[in-house]
Structure formats: C-alpha cells, structure tokens
C-alpha cells in the first residue's frame, strides 16, 4: 500500500451488546439469579454442567426476547433453534455455550438511524476471580471460578456497521439503554455488567463502499470508555494506514486508565466454535398468544415518547429527542412536569441544559423552575440554588430564603439601577457616545450589589429605560 497523507478515512463502527435479562431464574435451570450473593450459592447440577443434566428453556426469557425484538422493530422468526458454541475456558462449564447461530429469534430491525442485524438468546458464563494482587489475570497463578452467574439469560444484539463517529456510538448506546430500561427487561447497568458492549471498528476510504479490516474492542463498561476506546482505536488504525501498513484482524482491550489498547487475540488464535444444533432443546415457534402478550407488554418507547413531547408539549425536536433518548432525563422531566404551573418548554431547557438538574428531586426542580418563571429568583441565582439542591437536596424556597438569593422587588431594583447609573458616569457617557458595550459596566455594578440575584436581562432593560435608549 502506498502512503497518501491526504486520503480521508471514514470510521465504520458496529456494536455487539449483551443484555442480562432480569428474569427470576436462569436461562436453562431454576436457580434464582444472583445479586452479589456468596460465591457458588446459586448453582445446581444443570448450570454446573454435571454429567447427565439437560437444559430447559425459561419461558420468561423468551417473552423478554420477543419484547426486545419488537421494540427494535425486528423480524420475529417463525421458528428459531439453539446451537452449541464450543470452546474451552474455565468460565464455560459444559465447554459449550448454548446460544443461537444461524436461526436466531429476532432478525433485521432498526433503532433510530442504526439498523439491527439480529438479536438472539444465550446463556452467560461463570465469573473467573483472579487471585493476584492487582486482580488482573496476568499476575495470578490461580483463579477461582464462581458459577453464580453461569446460565444467566442474555440477549445479544448486533447492529449493522451504521455508526461513523465515537460520539454517535455513545449516544446510540444510550438510546438502546433507555429503550431496554423502558421495557423493564434488564437492569442495564454497565458498571455491574448487566449491559456489556463490544465495538467492531474499521476505517474505509471516504466515499468507498469497501470496508476495511475490522478489529473488535471488547467489553467497555461505560459510555465514556466506549467513546474513548473507539476513538483510540480509530487513531491507531489511521496511523497504520497512513503509514502504508495494513490493519490486522484482532481482538483488543482498551484500558481507560492508561488510554492504551492491548491485543487479546489475533486472527490465528480465533476460535473454531464448531456450531451445531443443540440436540437437547426443541425449536421456539412463537404462537400468536406469545406474540400478543409481548406486544401488549411494550410500553411507550423513546421514539414515541419524543414524538409525544413534540406534539403534545410543543418541545422542539432536538430537545424532545434528548429527553426521550436518555431514560433518566425523560423520567425526571415527566415527573417534574406533573407539578402545578410548570411550563413544559422552560422545564425542558433546564433539564437538558443544566447538568446538575439530573441530581435534583423532580418536585424540587419543578418548584425552582416555577420560581424563576414568576421572577421570584433570577436565572443566575437559580443556578446557584440548583447546585445546592443537587449536592444537599432540600426545598428551593427555603434555600433562596436562607442564602438571600431572592430577586429584588421591582422598586428596589430600580433604586439600585439608579444608583449604579449615578456612580458610573463615564460609562453613561460612553453609552451616549454610541459605545453600547459600556452598558456592561453598569450591569456589572448592579449585579455586584445584588450579589447576582438580579436577572441580567431585566437589569439591562431597566438601564436602557432610565437612559431612554
């Protein structure tokens, strides 16, 4: 390959997401799911892979998979079967994982502008605990296997490579998470591992249809790490390509602490999974009753929610989307909205533009927004109150009172403005001479005296009024 420093490369990103389902029992046995229980206390001969045991499919896991498929607008297979995916690893008790291969329960679908390739059911592996000091594999001599997690139901969702920017990948994953959260099928907690995301990353020549060699980034456990990891990998690949080299197909791990990528597995070491249909299970052919039950269980999904925010509440499209596509924000917004006298648009702006709002009780946030609308407190002062609410909680009115942040009465403010005008003669001269920016000095004086409680816009208009501008 020749070097061409001017050639533009376009990122091509696909995601593979594993969702742990919040059913009561495991995928193929009746053990209850574990939440930090003592190791190896949620097991049985089946999830331990003892000789002679047989799996039996969890009906609720199938129901959740159907709900996920419908929420992602996937084609639901008339009949799907399970396959054995074979590989040896201590966290894999049967040395094969029961998964789905070429006949998955859900086929092609769509979520926002990313196409879904497929979604299928499978069982989770056990947990390997490493005995070394740092807890990392490489320093340990022994590991201990905890089978509590083994057999937990998973849905694996694979997207088409429709993402072209790390940030877009992060945003889309947030949308997927919001969707799954609304469905109530999973805790979708990335830190705890109930939502896990791998990314397939490659670069292609801009405008070309030919895809470059892709690498797989495994298991990034936060949205930020996902974005940073993809970004780091794109940089790495670009450097190789610009240098005239070729990207090798491999599996990589991104270390967020150091920001570096390390290889886990090269193509040569890639597994031969030797898939074949699972003979111990029969096919899943969703009946009309099963399909109806899944469809009826679908709540309002983010896209529909965004549409409702636009049409019923008059929110601009961007804001509506932002609120609906991030479940915590949307939930906070709707709860705050139920308070009396809150203007939907104003509330929406506060929720989407002030990061501290996310940590405030909905009722308190609503009350604060109303106070601003009624001019009982200036926007600037309200931001201060928001900060207090976010870190300590409490009642907005009380905080305003305690910290003396209440807006001035109109008369009081006029008096202060008059004084400021009187004390800033030079600025007044400049304004009258045409230098309108000089108003800033007078505004500043007023703000200082009111300790920021006045509303900047209102102060400006009062000054203008007084000076008959």
């Amino acid at each position: 390959m020749t070097r061409d420093p001017d050639r533009v490369y376009e990122p091509v990103i696909g995601l593979e997401i594993h969702v742990q389902l919040s059913t009561r029992t495991k995928m193929f046995c009746g053990c209850a799911l574990s939440f930090g229980e003592e190791p190896n206390t949620r097991t049985c001969p089946i999830c331990l892979g003892h000789p002679g045991v047989l799996p039996v499919i969890n009906a609720e896991a199938v129901h959740y998979a159907l709900m996920i498929g419908m929420a992602l607008e996937c084609e639901i297979a008339d009949r799907s079967i399970f396959h054995r995916k074979q590989y040896f690893y201590p966290d894999n008790p049967k040395a094969y994982q029961i998964s789905q291969y070429d006949v998955p329960i859900c086929g092609a679908g769509q979520l926002d502008d990313v196409r879904i390739h497929r979604a299928h059911l499978e069982e989770d592996a056990a947990k390997l605990v490493h005995a070394g000091a740092s807890g990392r594999i490489h320093s340990a001599e022994h590991s201990t296997v905890d089978f509590n997690r083994a057999g937990t139901p998973l849905v694996e969702i694979v997207t088409e490579p429709d993402l072209h920017e790390p940030k877009a990948a992060g945003e889309w994953l947030r949308l997927l998470r919001a969707t799954l959260k609304r469905l109530g099928v999973s805790d979708v907690n990335m830190e705890e591992g109930s939502l896990r995301c791998d990314a397939n990353v490659s670069l292609r020549h801009a405008g070309s249809a030919t895809l470059g060699t892709k690498t797989e980034l495994k298991n990034m456990n936060s949205f930020r790490f996902l974005e940073r990891g993809i970004e780091a990998e794109l940089k790495r690949q670009e450097a190789i390509l610009r240098d005239g080299g070729e990207v090798e197909q491999e599996t990589l791990h991104f270390d967020p602490q150091s920001g570096t990528l390390s290889s886990l597995r090269s193509k040569e070491e890639a597994h031969d999974y030797r898939y074949f249909p699972e003979p111990d299970l029969v096919g899943v052919a969703p009946t009309q009753a099963m399909l109806d039950r899944a469809r009826e269980a679908l709540p309002e999904l983010p896209a529909a929610r965004a549409g409702r925010f636009e049409s019923e509440l008059g929110l601009p499209a961007d804001t509506a989307k932002l609120l609906a596509f991030r479940s915590e924000l949307g939930d906070l917004y709707e709860e705050a909205l139920s308070a009396d006298g809150v203007d939907p648009k104003t509330l929406a702006n506060w929720v989407t533009q002030e990061s501290a709002a996310a940590d405030v009780e909905p009722a308190a946030l609503a009350k604060l927004v109303v106070m601003v609308s009624e001019k009982a407190v200036s926007a600037a002062a309200a931001r201060q109150v928001l900060g207090v609410l976010a870190s300590e909680g409490g009642d907005p009115a009380a905080i305003v009172e305690q910290q003396g942040l209440g807006a001035q009465g109109a008369d009081e403010l006029r008096e202060i403005v008059d004084r400021a005008i009187a004390e800033n003669g030079d600025a007044v001269e400049k304004i009258k001479a045409g230098k309108s920016q000089a108003i800033g000095a007078i505004v500043g004086a007023v703000m200082r005296e009111t300790k920021g409680r006045a509303d900047g816009g209102e102060v400006q208009s009062l000054i203008r009024q007084k000076l008959e501008l």
């Binding site: 001969p45 331990l48 892979g49 003892h50 000789p51 002679g52 045991v53 047989l54 799996p55 039996v56 499919i57 054995r84 074979q86 040896f88 201590p90 008790p93 049967k94 040395a95 094969y96 001599e141 296997v145 031969d272 030797r274 898939y275 074949f276 003979p279 111990d280 299970l281 029969v282």
Partner: protein, 469 residues
C-alpha cells in the same frame, strides 16, 4: 433358593405382592450373587435395598453405570469420572425406585457407551456368561451379562446405536430400545443426545413390557421427552394373525454369518406358522446408516464429553498451567476408543468440514427415516437379525475399529429414525445365542411386545446360564 432365582421379574413381583415370597429373601439372594460376580459385570453393589412400595416392589434392578444415582459411584465406564458420586439421581431410576424396584448395583459398560463388546471399559472387560472367552456385547455389556448370568432379575441399559439390543442378542436375553423421547434422558450421562435412550434388559418379553411401563413418561427436566400416547399393556397373544412383517434385504443378506442366517430363516418360518405375513421391503439407505451414525454420534459426543475438563468433578492432571490441565486430564482419563470418537466428531464439526460430514450425515438420517416411513405404510413390523454374528472372542476386533463398528449394522438405522426395536433370543448357532430384532414405527411398543411375545412362545428358547444358576 434355586426356584426363587428362576422366577422372572414379573413372577417375583406377583409373588411378593401375594406374600408368597419375601422381598428380603429376594434381595439377599441377588445381592449375594451380584457381590460374587466374577464376570466383572458390576462396578458397585448396594448394601441395602432402596425401593419403595409399588407394583415392582422387591424386585432388585441392576443399573448401567451410565445413570447418575445420587451419592452412588457413577463413572460411565471411564477413569475420568473415577470417584464421582453425582449430587442427583436420573429420572428413569427415580421412577423405577418409586415403582418399588430397589437398585441392586451399577453395571460395567463400554466407556461413555462407546463400544460393541464392553472391551472399552476403563475398568476391564466384561465376560459373556455363555463363554467366558467371549464378549457379552456392548455398550450395556455388564447389564446384559448380569441378567444372562442370573445375578440380577432385570436391568436397565442405554441404546444409542444398538447398545441394549446387541448385548441382549449376544447374551441370549431380551432388550428393548424405546421410541426416542419415550423415556427421560435426564441423569443419563450423555453420549449422543439425539440417539441415546434408556431401556430394559430382561429374561423375557413380559418383564421388558413391565419394566418399560414404569419408565415411560414426559419429564419436565428433559425437553425432548414425550408423553406415551397409550398405556403399556402386558402381552398375551400367541398368534401373529394379520401381522405383516417386512424383511429388508439390505439388513438380512450380505454380512450376516451363516449360523445367524440359519436361525433367522427358521424364525421367519415360525412367523408364518403363527399367521404372520412376510414381505420384502427395501430400506435403500440403510447401507449408509453406519457411515451416518459414525459422523453424528461422535460429533455429538465430542461436545458432550468436553465438560470432562478437571474443573468441577472427576480426575485432574497437569503440570500447573491451564492448557496442561485440560490436555493431560483428558489424555489420562479417556480410553483409546473415546479419544478416537472425540477426534472424529471434532473433525466432522470443524471449520470447513461441517457440511461435508455432519451436514450430509443429517440428510442421510432424513432419508433413513423416510425409508422406514414408507416401509411402515406397507408392513406393521420389520424383522432382522439383531447382530450379524454371535458373540466374538475377547480381543478379536480390538485392533480394527471399523470391524467393531460393523457389529452395529442391523441396529444403527433405528435410532437414526428414532423408532423402537426389541431383540429376543431366536435360537443358538454353535452353542451361542442369536438375537432376532423386531422394529416398529414410533410409539408402537405395544405392538412390538405382542409380536415378540407370540414369537417368544413359539420359539421356546429355554437355554441360558440364568436358568441353571
């Protein structure tokens, strides 16, 4: 004492119910015999009876070591499971215990049910009580030898390619492979999941029907098990009037040794004498059955045996690193035949070879099932010799795997199609027993028992070590 030992299981059960014979007496008799067995038929003998009250109360049952019995050594004929005592009991054994039959002991077998002579056991071969220099057949060689020698009134075994029927034939007793799905596989250490079935090995057809009646039933722990659509009746008819028997040239000509052929031809005459109608029916794909079987069974076995890895149970070897643990454990624990089949199965499923081997074999399987369906449109039952030869000498075929595999030529097509088949003693050839096989469509066991019973009466086979023991 001798008369007690001559009772069939059904007769003994009746006498125990009528209080003419005591369960204790019967237990003591058989327990002593089992403990004194010198054919190497037993791996373990119980101290105390553990059956309940029920129709089978008091009639001790020998159980192939492939069945998990909680707390009882269950090694599946393999060194890799040496020391293993399962934490649960197989459904079929539980059902029989509940029906009253106490577990007498665990019988020796070919390792992981792979073999046709019981020479593949990790714990030494079993001798045929008819001639101790000959094999009893396999893989349920221990169960067959025990029943034939009179050290157990009846036994259960498993049949995947002929492992109940062929040893029954070589030992001059009755053995049934049920319809696939009729008996639960839960707790039966898996060899080839889509072929394995549990079945009775008994002194006569009535005993087989009685034992079978208490084994059948859909088990929630086995997704491939089915409800038997009729009650199992004990046979009583002595006529074969109106019963049409198909004779397939592919399984009754070439490869069948003269002595066996002679007994088979005699049997055909007896069938006609009882009013049965004989008709030639082709099973055109049955010559390919062994080839298909020796792809499918090893493929499934290779996956089923991957769990024997030294982590959770069984033996462990190795020099301290993970790869060595896997490789050395499995090298030390598995015998030659098992290794051969694991290699064959792994190869057949490996990347690039799946379609040519496993894919094709599964299609051959469809054709074999179609052949039977077409045949059973014209006849009620199919009759063949069970084994092409009488019991061969120990060591005679151990150096030629394919020659050993050919022992299954007549028995392998039925499990591929999932249909039931029984073997009953037809006569002697050179002083050694010859088995006659009757096969029928799925769930035709009652018809099979009826025909087998009538034939049994007409044949009047009165030979066998158990009759003089």
């Amino acid at each position: 004492m001798t008369e007690l030992a001559q009772l069939t299981a059904a007769q003994a059960a009746e006498k125990i119910r009528a209080r003419e014979v005591s369960a204790d007496e019967l237990w003591t008799l058989y327990r002593e015999r089992a403990a004194a067995d010198d054919l190497n038929a037993y791996m373990w003998v119980a101290d105390e009876p553990d059956g309940g009250d029920g129709p089978l109360a008091g009639v001790p049952l020998a159980v192939k070591d492939l069945f998990c019995v909680e707390g009882v050594p269950s090694y599946a004929g393999s060194r890799i499971l040496e020391g293993y005592r399962p934490p649960y009991t197989a459904t079929s054994v539980s059902k029989l215990r509940e029906a009253g039959a106490p577990v007498l002991g665990k019988t020796n077998m070919d390792e992981f049910a792979m073999g046709s002579s019981n020479e593949n056991s990790g714990f030494g071969p079993v001798e045929n009580p008819w001639d101790r220099e000959r094999v009893p057949g396999g893989s349920s060689g221990g169960s067959a030898a025990a029943v034939a020698a009179g050290s157990a009134p009846w036994a259960i075994g498993t049949d995947t390619g002929g492992s109940i029927r062929q040893p029954a034939a070589l030992c001059g007793i009755v053995g049934l492979k049920p319809t696939y799905g009729a008996v639960s596989r839960y707790g039966m250490i898996a060899f080839a999941s889509s072929l394995d079935q549990c079945g009775p090995l008994t002194r006569d057809v009535t005993d087989a029907a009685l034992l079978f009646r208490h084994m059948v039933g859909k088990d929630p722990c086995d997704s491939t098990s089915l409800e038997f659509p009729e009650d199992i009746t004990l046979p009583s008819t002595e006529s074969l009037d109106g019963v049409r028997f198909g004779v397939p040239p592919e399984l009754t000509g070439e490869g069948i040794e003269d002595g066996v052929k002679a007994v088979f031809d005699e049997t055909l005459k007896k069938i006609e004498g009882l009013g049965g109608k004989l008709e030639e029916v082709a099973l055109p794909h049955s010559p390919h059955a062994i080839a298909a079987y020796y792809v499918i069974a090893p493929a499934e076995a290779s996956a089923n045996l991957s769990r024997y890895d030294g982590v959770r149970f069984g033996i462990r070897e190795g020099n301290g690193d993970l790869l060595s643990m896997y490789e050395e454990t499995r090298a030390a624990g598995f015998g030659a035949e098992v290794k051969r089949r694991i290699m064959l199965g792994t190869y057949a499923l490996s990347s690039g070879y799946y379609e040519a081997y496993y894919g094709r074999a599964q299609r051959v399987r469809t054709k074999i099932a179609d052949d039977f369906r077409e045949a059973f449109a014209k006849v009620d039952l199919i009759v063949t010799p069970t084994s092409p030869t009488v019991a061969f000498k120990l060591g005679e075929r151990t150096n030629d795997p394919w020659a050993m595999y050919l022992a299954d030529a007549c028995t392998v097509p039925m499990p591929l199609a999932g249909i039931p088949a029984i073997s009953i003693p037809g006569g002697l050839a050179d002083g050694l027993p010859v088995g006659i096989q009757l096969a029928g469509p799925a769930f035709s066991e009652n018809r099979i028992f009826d025909a087998a019973y009538a034939l049994e009466q007409a044949i009047g086979f009165e030979e066998g070590p158990w009759r003089d023991a």
